[in-house]
């Protein structure tokens, strides 16, 4: 934990975004997590992604459940409202928030306990409903705040700090998201900002449910030899399939030198998401293939990362519900109240 508050002044050459703001304008208050916690890297990646996208820093809704991961929305985007809700119930709160105002960028932060155990039901259903949001799981395989119990994403055989092996099968959130219809699925590693930042950007701009499973080691309880969620283990066992590069709307798109190995996806704001295939036999638009690939590699002991699946054209929840373009929280009495005359005829229908 850092007790020293960051100074308000910043380096004069800190890069300005299109709004004339710097990365510092997207930060939150000082983290109270352990020094070296993977979650702080995820927060930093969110700050960078949002700043580089030049979205006004107050136009986000940050929603989380309970746990170490769920504390982090305090540590980024301080100009936006945040809601640290109920353990395992972030998805329902995020659903309500998104229904109320479709114009805000909705970021959901959860952990492996919060999503894969107590929140498994709500997670499954928010995927199905295609709420337009970026749902990030800071996945460390352990319950940090209650001192190191295994979580449901911990691999079978992976050991605790005291050397006790986990006896139960792991839940693979990526597999579940793929199966239940998420239209954007990625997995990344808190130790690889180069991969993570473009994925967060793409997830935020994606119109629909974007899921990011970010392996984010717990330095206090799950970073030892024998753990499959440690920095070392993940570095040694990663296999990247598709890298995402982000090209803002105003930048020229330069031709790639490896034809066939890349694909440009137009994003709703006019920017371009450039996908680079790192595994030649991998197709990020084949849901069933992606699921099989990730599971096969898992069997082989490889942690597949990158942009795993993308359907840029699917309808999001507001499209499914056919709601008006105006955010529901902006509708007034005139829009909402049918008035006495209509009530008179309703009364007549009950006579």
């Amino acid at each position: 934990m850092t007790f020293v508050a960051k100074p308000r002044v910043h380096h004069p050459q800190l890069k300005l975004n299109d709004l004339g703001l710097t990365r510092r304008d997207y930060e939150g208050s000082v983290s109270t997590l352990c020094a070296g916690c993977g979650h702080d890297s995820v927060s930093a990646a969110i700050v960078q992604a949002c700043a580089e996208l030049s979205i006004p820093p107050h136009r986000f809704a940050k929603i989380s459940g309970i746990g170490c991961s769920s504390k982090t929305p305090t540590y980024f985007l301080g100009k936006s409202h945040g809601f640290n809700s109920v353990h395992g119930r972030m998805p329902s709160v995020a659903t309500g928030a998104n229904l109320a105002n479709r114009e805000l960028y909705c970021i959901g932060i959860s952990g492996d306990g919060d999503t894969a155990s107590i929140g498994m039901g709500q997670f499954a259903h928010i995927v199905r409903r295609r709420i337009n949001m970026c749902y990030i799981v800071d996945n460390n395989g352990t319950y940090g705040l209650t001192k190191g119990q295994f979580s449901a994403t911990n691999d079978k055989g992976s050991t605790s700090k005291k050397g006790v092996p986990n006896l139960y099968e792991p839940i693979d959130l990526v597999g579940i998201a793929l199966q239940l219809g998420a239209t954007f699925v990625g997995r990344s590693f808190s130790g690889d900002k180069g991969q993570l930042v473009p994925l967060i950007k793409a997830g935020l701009l994606h119109k629909g449910f974007a899921f990011l499973d970010v392996i984010s080691p717990c330095v206090a309880f799950n970073n030892h030899r024998g753990s499959t969620k440690s920095y070392d283990y993940v570095r040694d066992h990663r296999g990247d399939v598709v890298a995402a590069d982000f090209v803002p709307a105003h930048d020229e798109i330069v031709a790639d030198y490896l034809p066939g190995a890349r694909e440009d996806v137009a994003m709703p704001d006019g920017s371009t998401l450039r996908l680079r295939k790192l595994a030649p036999d991998y197709d990020p638009h084949d849901r069933v293939g992606a699921l099989a690939y990730v599971q096969r590699k898992q069997e082989e002991g490889e942690v597949v990362t990158g942009l795993l699946y993308l359907d840029p054209d699917a309808a999001d929840c507001h499209a499914i519900l056919e709601t008006v373009d105006v955010p529901l929280n902006g509708l007034t009495d005139v829009d909402l109240c049918p008035g006495e005359a209509a009530l008179k005829s309703i009364n007549a229908s009950f006579r």
Binding site: P56, H58, A97, L99, A100, V324, R351
Partner: protein
Amino acid sequence: MTRYNDFVIKFANVNGSGSASANSMFAKALFRMGVPVGTRNIFPSNIQGLPTWFEVRVSERGYLGRRDGVDIMVAMNPETYAEDVASLVPGGFLLYDSSRPRPHELSRSDIVDVGVPISTLLLTEFQDPKQRQLFKNIAYVGVLSALIGIDFDVLTGMVSEQYKGKDASIKPNVHALEIGRNYARDYLDTPLPIQVRRSNVVGSRIMIEGNTASGLGAVYGGATVCAWYPITPSTSVAEAFETYANRLRTDKATGRKKFAIMQAEDELAAIGMVIGAAWNGARAFTATSGPGLSLMSEFLGLAYFAEIPAVLIDVQRAGPSTGMPTRTQQADLMSAVYASHGDTRHVVLIPSTPKECFDFSADALDLADRLQTPVIVMSDLELGMNESLSEPLVWDDARRYDRGKVYDAEDLDRIERFGRYLDTDGDGIGYRTYPGVHPSKGSFFTRGTSRDEYARYTEAPEAYIENMDRLLKKWETAKSLVPRPEIHESSPRRAYGMLYYGTSLTPMQESLDLLAADGIHLDTLRLRAIPFADSVFEFIDNHELTFLVEQNRDAQMRMILVNEGEIDPAKVVPVCYFGGLSISAEFIRRKVTEYFAMNKLARISEVKR
């Protein structure tokens, strides 16, 4: 001697046999003749096959509570035939299908048998076996029209209305009515000494289910997000919201909707969505029943502590656990008022009529925004799922939604420093902001953990205590905002009083009249909300003793009264019915009279002039 507009008729049917629409047509016909009717569906937790009953209390005097003792029984279910015959009062009439022989050991000499060979009559008239089954129900309505004098034109008019656009269905329905009527006219001893006749007592009133009125109230009250999970008896609240929102809130040009309805995966998610939507500035509500309320309690505690508006319509049924899911009770009070762990108190509104269901739905949305806290509307199955007589619904076009204390961008520019939980006005309610409102001011972090006035996390005891005390102050503020109790006091005041709430209103006038005839005269107070107004405790103080009518075993309202008002429990005598049927006037009369007798309380006999 012929009795007019004063009887109980009961229909015994098999669930899923299509009897519901015929029975409701019967009740509606009487209503259209201007005669007050109270209807009750007594149905099992089942889709098809189990017994179901429909009871209609017909009363010119407006006594519409349930009354034991059936005057006319339409016995269409062989399985319940024995108990149906037994439920008739001496001299009552038994209408049955005489196409097949009846078990003679069940016949009673003190009732009048009215046998009609309904199945046989329909056999030659309709080819389709499904139609034959359905029209049995319509045919007995036709029989009744001749027996008790229902205007036949009223019935045929209702058929035409119901099948408007499906004209092919009108003729066979009318024909089925005629088959029944003609048989009765030609072969039965008509009319019965129990008759209906046109009246002007109903006046401008409507007949509507409480749940329909609740759903409509949410449309009028400006709810834009409805999240719910199916559960009897609350499901029709969300369904009514959907029906009327589709009709009244769809943009005519684009077909797009000014509302969102989400059928959640469970009640936890339903209330979570409501809280998320309300946090983000939309008006949101959910509807549920006891088991759902239990599941929602963690979230209700969050909304109380984090101060987020939420509206919950609890249509109560008999608990605990699954209880009797299709029977009525008022047994969720304790779990609603004090829902969740920690120190919590929730605002509760208690409607007694469909009109109050409508009003309180809309009012709850205003109150939740004003008080920044959950507001729970406590209806019940009796009110929610039965068509009741009600004053027409009214909306004042000059009324504007009260969105409570919300700072917009201009307000934020004006103030020096925003503090979400500052008690600026001294009423315990701070100012909130909607997410995304201002580029640099007004954002704050909402949490269920302790915080200071500027919404910063803290575990400092002083800050926590200050916050919890402020929430109590808000509770005090709520007292002046919630619906007032309805008090009827004689002048001079009576020695004894009667407290009641919710659907105990329905039999109340009848029980008071019965008690008065016994020399027991009571002032009355109908509770309509918690927190209680001071006048509730004054009423208790001003009477030697008050009875409190409740539809639960443990006198839950009494516990809350004793707790909130620190009153002497001995001053409030519980009168509790909890069998799952609607409470009857006779039950109340008996309990109160027994208490008077047992305690040798003095009765007054009014001087007859």
